[in-house]
């Protein structure tokens, strides 16, 4: 099933990033990114994706989110001039958790540069999945460092995505609450932040169930407070229904997934009990929605497990199966004594009872129900989005005509492959259904499909009709695909009947792009 849904994956990495060092005894180790990279090479995943060296984000780019003062401060502070900045360090919360280390600014530049470049890449539809393990620093605030994070590459990436996407979904599976991202988008309805995290006497202290956003952004912040010992099954039981529901109600045009690996078992700072497989399932699940997908790193403080996890998740993104036996690499000894890719959970008790998770879930569903169901607006937006993108893309292709673009053109030729695979991708979706069915599907079916979905669909359809975009076909598509795969709406709208013919759900921006192109031409 994985092998069917091959995607174009871009991967951002700078060989310098492993050489930054937060300081003695500091748990954050950028070296884990290099360990991941070496594993990717030796697993042969390296050759299966586009590898990019990101630019160094400029201060200008950073100030799209961060305050000028803060960025100026980050740019000028060094270990040898720290004493001159005492007051500012306090103000910007730089010092203890977020120490001043050699190359601090460069590190931020690389991390942010990767995420921004990845977002632009997605905007230009030059890729379907972008990965930046150097990013994911989700605690950084507008003018404040926090929790080992200085520059919030995620916010910068999302801001970039918002230029082309009406709605962006941010999902955070770090064990810590993604407070920086949530705060940045707390009052907007264009970004929904969903964070699964340990809550209660835990950094950063935010992420209560009751924190749901403010102003226009009310109900657009979703927090899932969890307790110690979350295991794979429990995690899936809450992740899958909530993300499905969010996808259904919010209908994002792009997804950012923060893959903080400190939710793995045995993490130095974390207190969950996830395995690499359970963690990777989140990636797998989100990937199935076939939306432009940005994966970033994040926490993770038992570095051997972090690199295991991110290697595996890269393979999930690539839909390549990799052996459990780790290949030899420069850091092979780190993975002793078993030298296996997958890890086993500990026997810690899971304090999250199924009743607790159920209650949380129901409360969140209630909140999500409060979202203005304006699929009309949404769907109105989506075709725009898609058409825009297409025209942009075309513009680019026509005008720029640079080498990489010609490369892309070349790549477009075998796109038939893609569309094939997309057709098969439905199979994937079908799998998806069964996959969900393992645990929560019955309830989901009731909730999503029968209760709301139908009513929503009807309104959608109405709206679409008002828009007057080839209503006939859409009606059926909408009802077909609705709960499963909202991204389809996009392609459906674009490609109209094409997608319909493909047994109801085109899927994937690839097909969308193609269809749109045809339309335009």
């Amino acid at each position: 099933m994985q092998s069917h849904s091959k995607k174009r994956v871009c991967y951002y990495y700078d060989s310098d990033i492993g050489n930054y060092y937060y300081g003695q005894g500091h748990p954050m180790k950028p070296h884990r990114i290099r360990m991941t990279h070496n594993l990717l090479l030796n697993y042969g995943l390296y050759r299966k994706m586009e590898i990019y060296r990101p630019h160094k984000a400029t201060a200008d780019e950073m100030t799209k989110f961060h305050s000028d003062e803060y960025v100026r401060f980050l740019r000028s502070i060094r270990p040898d001039n720290m004493s001159e900045y005492n007051k500012q360090m306090q103000r910007f919360n730089v010092g203890e958790d977020c120490p001043v280390f050699d190359g601090l600014y460069e590190f931020c530049q690389l991390s942010a540069g990767g995420s921004v470049a990845a977002a632009v890449k997605l905007n230009k539809q030059a890729s379907e999945i972008c990965i930046n393990w150097g990013g994911g620093l989700h605690h950084a605030k507008k003018s404040e460092a926090s929790g080992f994070c200085y520059v919030n590459d995620i916010v910068l990436g999302i801001l970039e995505l918002l230029k082309y996407h009406q709605r962006v979904l941010y999902i955070d599976i770090d064990v810590h609450h993604g407070d920086g991202v949530e705060e940045a988008f707390y009052t907007t309805d264009r970004v929904m932040t969903v964070s699964f995290h340990k809550y209660g006497e835990y950094f950063p202290g935010t992420g209560d169930l009751r924190d749901i956003g403010a102003g226009k952004g009310k109900y657009y912040a979703v927090n899932i407070p969890l307790r110690d010992g979350m295991d794979d099954d429990a995690y899936e039981s809450i992740f899958v229904p909530i993300i499905s529901k969010v996808m259904e109600t919010f209908q994002p045009a792009a997804v950012v997934l923060q893959c903080g690996a400190d939710s793995l078992t045995g993490d130095r700072l974390g207190c969950f009990n996830l395995t690499v497989k359970g963690h990777g399932k989140c990636v797998e699940f989100v990937k199935k929605y076939n939306l432009p997908f940005l994966m970033v790193g994040g926490g993770g403080y038992t570095i051997r497990n972090v690199s295991r996890c991110w290697t595996y998740e890269t393979s999930v993104a690539l839909a390549v199966e990799i052996a459990n036996e780790l290949p030899y690499n420069d850091y092979f000894e780190y993975f002793g004594p078993d030298f296996k890719l997958h890890i086993s959970p500990s026997n810690m008790t899971n304090q999250n009872t199924s009743e607790y998770l159920e209650k949380i879930k129901n409360r969140l569903f209630e909140n999500l129900r409060m979202l203005p169901h304006a699929p009309g607006v949404q769907i109105q937006a989506i075709p725009e989005d898609a058409i825009n993108d297409e025209s942009d893309d075309e513009d680019k292709v026509d005008k720029d005509d640079r080498l990489p673009q010609s490369d892309k053109d070349k790549r477009i030729v075998p796109e038939n492959e893609y569309s094939d695979s997309e057709d098969e991708g439905e199979g994937g979706r079908r799998d998806n259904r069964t996959y969900k069915g393992q645990r929560k599907r019955p309830r989901l079916d009731k909730d999503t499909n029968s209760n709301k979905a139908s009513s929503e669909t009807s309104s959608e359809i109405k709206d679409e009709k008002e828009k007057g975009d080839g209503a006939d076909g859409e009606e059926s598509t909408a009802s077909n695909t609705n709960s499963n795969n909202n991204s389809n709406n996009k392609s459906d709208n674009d490609a109209g009947a094409t997608a319909n013919a493909g047994s109801g759900s085109g899927s994937g921006s690839g097909a969308g792009a193609k269809g749109a192109k045809e339309n335009n031409i």
């Binding site: 951002y12 990495y13 310098d16 492993g18 050489n19 060092y21 300081g23 003695q24 005894g25 090479l41 030796n42 042969g44 050759r47 299966k48 994706m49 586009e50 990019y52 060296r53 990101p54 799209k64 305050s67 050699d102 190359g103 540069g113 470049a117 632009v120 230009k124 507008k142 003018s143 916010v155 970039e160 996407h165 009406q166 407070d179 705060e183 940045a184 707390y186 907007t188 264009r190 209660g200 202290g205 169930l209 009751r210 912040a221 407070p225 307790r227 207190c271 420069d330 092979f332 000894e333 026997n347 008790t349 009743e355 949380i360 409360r363 825009n388 942009d392 513009d395 990489p404 070349k410």
Partner: protein, 880 residues
């Protein structure tokens, strides 16, 4: 098995005193200490009863706010959460007068309890109105904790909801960020503490045993409450500006080319196989390059090592880059790997560094730890920081690091992840001495099956008249008895299972329990004195349980004494267990035994002057053992002083200086120049030196070859064998076989054994061990000796004070360090007349021999010794 396995992160019950409610703690760390005991570092949770009353009311207010969904409540909540500081201050403000008003409360308890009760009633009343199923007021749950609640409570005939409301208070805890250390043996079982989530019903906690919840954080030092919650801030200073979605026609000015550079693309014509082949080729070229390279061939003498070095990831990355650069043409890439300058050689840091650099690095790492900046500055200034860091992470894969890690692993062994604590046998302890002393369990000898009645009285809590065991919770002047199930409830939840007569309000319950908690302070003297648990209905005595919390408890097994002050505990440790605990203050924990001074008052001085003949001050000064007969002095003093006037006495007190002439005069005389070399300064010629009458160390005879011939000093004195035969010489004390003879004299003193000591050097200081090396045993040796004897150190009562001795855990054979306290005693030997006589009998040669070899027995004629009838203590004087 699993239930007794305690892990870091588990919530546990902790028993500090056998008859008070358990404490609730979270295990943060488990450490094995040197004696092999496991110590747990725990985070403290407080019960409602442990909190000062005003804070509890505040907490209720908060709960009221959170329990409701109404806009008012959320507003309340927001003010609470937004302004934690001001709220804190409010708490403080409430608190301070309240402490002062504690006495007042004592006299009018109803007032406060009423307040507390109304507050709680309020909260649950409000919440019952909400659809949330939030409060205990959902009527269903008769089962909530009511398992053992068989007794009919006519008096507590309130609705079940109120009982539940009462009980839910026992499930509320307050997190503190206070961490303390306890011996793991005090752990009595697991429980669960979770942050209350608003979606949960409180009922769910009541339905499950041993579950607690918390919402607020309590700071025991500041006596404040805080919501455990961060805040997402709203405002332009925190949110970002959302860019508008670009219009159809608008295009982003972003150029991908500026943002990224492609390093590899999968879009090429090469198959995987081809790439693999190319990688092999590049590795082979690398191997060959190393063979050509002089420095490499030194480092990697064997082909295998060269090949291994050429297979490192840097070569592979380089190969991939080359492929990409040459547009995935194998041919071109290949030729670029072998340019005219010779085959390409890629070396990473680990290979690049010379052996001496590596050594420097390891040395530096040992010195500075992982402070790479310092390492670079002081050791490897020619490397960049990045190089050093890269090297460090690669170095970690080497054997050298593995070795170091092993050392670390041994250290880490002391940090445990989990510990097994066998089921604590309540009965064993319950029937033990501690309870007997307090009469804690009535009919404690039950065989379980038979229910016993309690002298016709019902259980104070549930009214049951029969129980397999009756436990008494008692205070100073009144006790009440609880049936087993209520007692267990009481220990776990810190309160009665149901509200008792007349007081259903929570305030009273709290009051009760806080008074219960006050007893441990009173019993700091020890376990055996009084039973500690109290629930006294009428006792409004109110001492905050916090004092109880801060009791410092001796962590030694079987001791468990409690002290109010840490310093007291430290002193206790030092005195009773011989453990030196470094306290923060530079002051020594305890006084050494010699630290005293004599304060001479005028009368003493007068007495010295008057009774000079009796006191004999000069003699006393020379012989510290000389006993001055104080009685005689007193008598004489009173006799002589009686007739004297004040002025005369004063005169006596005046110091009469002795005229010895001026020092300067003497100095001048001696130092006067010109008097020439004095006669006494001229050296006597060697041959005119007077010969000694006896040569103590005559030169040994010369061997024919001119070398000196020395007698072999025998290892073992033949005398020893002779001694037992020599019946008349009672030299060796009867228990001479004991190995711990260092303290022989003290034992003798204690046993009162009569032992005649024949002057044989200073016998008291050493055991009669032959051959005794002429050095004291080192503390370790001594400890080993002590351990081998399997006997705890004898405590020596000296001046009523316990002697400081090293704690020895009987026979576990671990190495122990003797504290400084255990240095050899301040003991000297006082010769009595018998000894002096004996000395005179001995020839000078014998005496000297004895001085040189004190462990040897002396060849004394039996007739010469008069066996002294006095016990040895008369000869040993211990300075104190």
């Amino acid at each position: 098995m699993a239930t007794n396995m305690y892990r870091v992160g588990d919530y546990v019950y902790v028993e500090t005193t056998p008859n008070s409610p358990y404490l609730i703690r979270r295990i943060e760390e488990l450490n094995k200490n040197q004696t092999g005991n496991v110590e747990a570092k725990v985070m403290c949770f407080y019960r409602r009863r442990d909190l000062p009353n005003p804070l509890v009311q505040l907490a209720d207010k908060h709960q009221l706010a959170t329990a409701e969904d109404s806009p008012l409540a959320t507003k309340l909540k927001k003010t609470w959460l937004r302004t934690p500081v001001s709220e804190e201050q409010a708490a403080q403000a409430v608190l301070d007068p309240s402490i002062a008003a504690l006495d007042e409360e004592r006299t009018s308890p109803t007032q406060t309890s009423g307040g507390g009760g109304s507050a709680t009633g309020n909260s649950s009343g409000n919440s019952s109105g909400t659809s949330n199923n939030n409060s205990s007021s959902t009527g269903s749950g008769g089962g909530a904790g009511g398992a053992g609640n068989a007794g009919g409570d006519a008096e507590k005939g309130e609705a079940l909801t109120s009982k539940q409301r009462y009980q839910i208070k026992h499930r509320e805890l307050f997190l503190s960020r206070q961490v303390e250390s306890i011996p793991a043996t005090q752990i009595r079982g697991k429980c669960s503490v979770t942050l209350l989530n608003e979606t949960e019903s409180l009922q769910s906690y009541l339905n499950k045993d041993d579950t607690f919840f918390y919402c607020l954080v309590f700071d025991p030092n500041q006596k404040t409450l805080l919501a455990d919650k961060g805040e997402i801030r709203v405002g332009s200073r925190y949110q970002c500006d959302i860019p508008a979605k670009l219009k159809d026609t608008a295009t982003d000015d972003r150029k991908l080319e500026e943002l990224e550079s492609l390093v590899w693309t999968p879009e090429h014509s090469l198959t995987d196989r081809k790439i693999d082949q190319f990688l092999v080729v590049s590795r082979s070229i690398g191997t060959f390059a190393r063979a050509l390279d002089c420095s490499s061939s030194v480092k990697q003498p064997s082909l295998h090592m060269s090949a291994a070095a050429a297979s490192r990831d840097i070569t592979l990355f380089h190969a991939m880059n080359i492929l990409h650069k040459h547009e995935y043409s194998i041919e071109e890439s290949m030729s670029s790997l072998v340019p005219s300058t010779g085959p390409v050689l890629c070396r990473d840091e680990i290979e690049d560094w010379s052996a001496s650099e590596a050594n420097l690095f390891e040395e530096a790492l040992e010195k500075y730890g992982k402070d790479f900046n310092d390492i670079r500055q002081d050791f490897l200034p020619w490397k960049t920081l990045k190089q050093i860091i890269e090297y460090y992470y690669m170095w970690k894969t080497t054997d050298r690091y593995v070795q170091q890690k092993r050392v670390k692993a041994v250290e880490a062994e002391l940090k445990l992840k989990q510990v097994y604590i066998p089921q604590y046998n309540n009965n064993g302890k319950g029937n033990g001495s501690s309870v007997k002393a307090g009469g804690g369990i009535y009919n404690g000898t039950t065989n379980g099956s038979t229910d016993l009645s309690n002298n016709g009285k019902p259980c104070e809590s549930c009214g049951a008249t029969k129980s397999s065991q009756w436990n008494s919770v008692s205070s100073g002047h009144s006790t009440c008895r609880l049936c087993l199930s209520c007692w267990e409830y009481w220990r776990r939840y810190g309160s009665m299972k149901s509200a008792t007569k007349g007081d259903s309000g929570d305030g009273d319950a709290k009051k009760k329990s806080s008074s219960a908690a006050s007893t441990p302070t009173a019993t700091s003297a020890g376990l055996a004195t009084t039973p500690t648990a109290v629930v006294d209905l009428n006792d409004d005595e109110k001492i905050s349980d916090l004092t109880n919390r801060q009791l410092h408890r001796c962590s030694i097994v079987n001791c468990g004494k409690e002290f109010k002050l840490k310093t007291h505990l430290a002193r206790h440790y030092a005195q009773a267990h011989g453990i030196a605990i470094s306290s923060g203050s530079p002051r020594p924990i305890m006084k050494t035994r010699t630290a005293f001074y004599l304060h001479t008052n005028p009368m003493t001085r007068v007495a010295r002057a008057i009774c000079r003949s009796i006191v004999k001050p000069k003699k006393a000064a020379r012989q510290s053992a000389y006993a001055i007969n104080a009685m005689l002095v007193k008598q004489e003093f009173t006799n002589r002083i009686s007739g004297k006037s004040q002025a005369e006495i004063k005169k006596l007190l005046l110091l009469k200086p002795k005229d010895r002439g001026s020092v300067t005069k003497i100095a001048n005389r001696l130092g006067a120049p010109g008097s020439g070399p004095h006669e006494w300064l001229v050296l006597t010629p060697k041959d005119k030196m007077p010969l000694p009458a006896v040569v103590s160390f005559p030169k040994p005879p010369k061997a024919p070859d001119g070398s000196l011939v020395y007698d072999r000093v025998p290892n073992k004195s033949p005398d020893v064998v002779a001694v037992p035969a020599d019946k008349d010489l009672t030299i060796i004390p009867t228990q001479a076989t004991s190995t711990i003879r260092k303290r022989a004299h003290e034992e003798q003193q204690l046993n009162g054994t009569e032992v005649t000591i024949v002057p044989s050097g200073p016998p008291a200081k050493r055991p009669n061990k032959d051959p005794m090396p002429s050095h004291c045993p080192s503390p370790e040796q001594f400890a080993a000796m002590m351990a081998a004897s399997g006997q705890p150190l004898s405590r020596h009562h000296l001046n009523g004070k316990q002697k400081i001795a090293q704690m020895a855990r009987g026979g576990n054979g671990r190495k122990q360090v003797i504290s400084w306290m255990d240095a050899p005693d301040d003991v000297y030997f006082r010769a009595n007349d018998t000894h002096k006589k004996t000395r005179k009998i001995l020839s000078a040669v014998d005496l000297r021999r004895a001085a040189r070899k004190p462990w040897r027995t002396l060849p004394i004629k039996p007739a010469a010794t008069e066996p002294s009838s006095r016990p040895i203590e008369s000869q040993i004087v211990i300075l104190d």
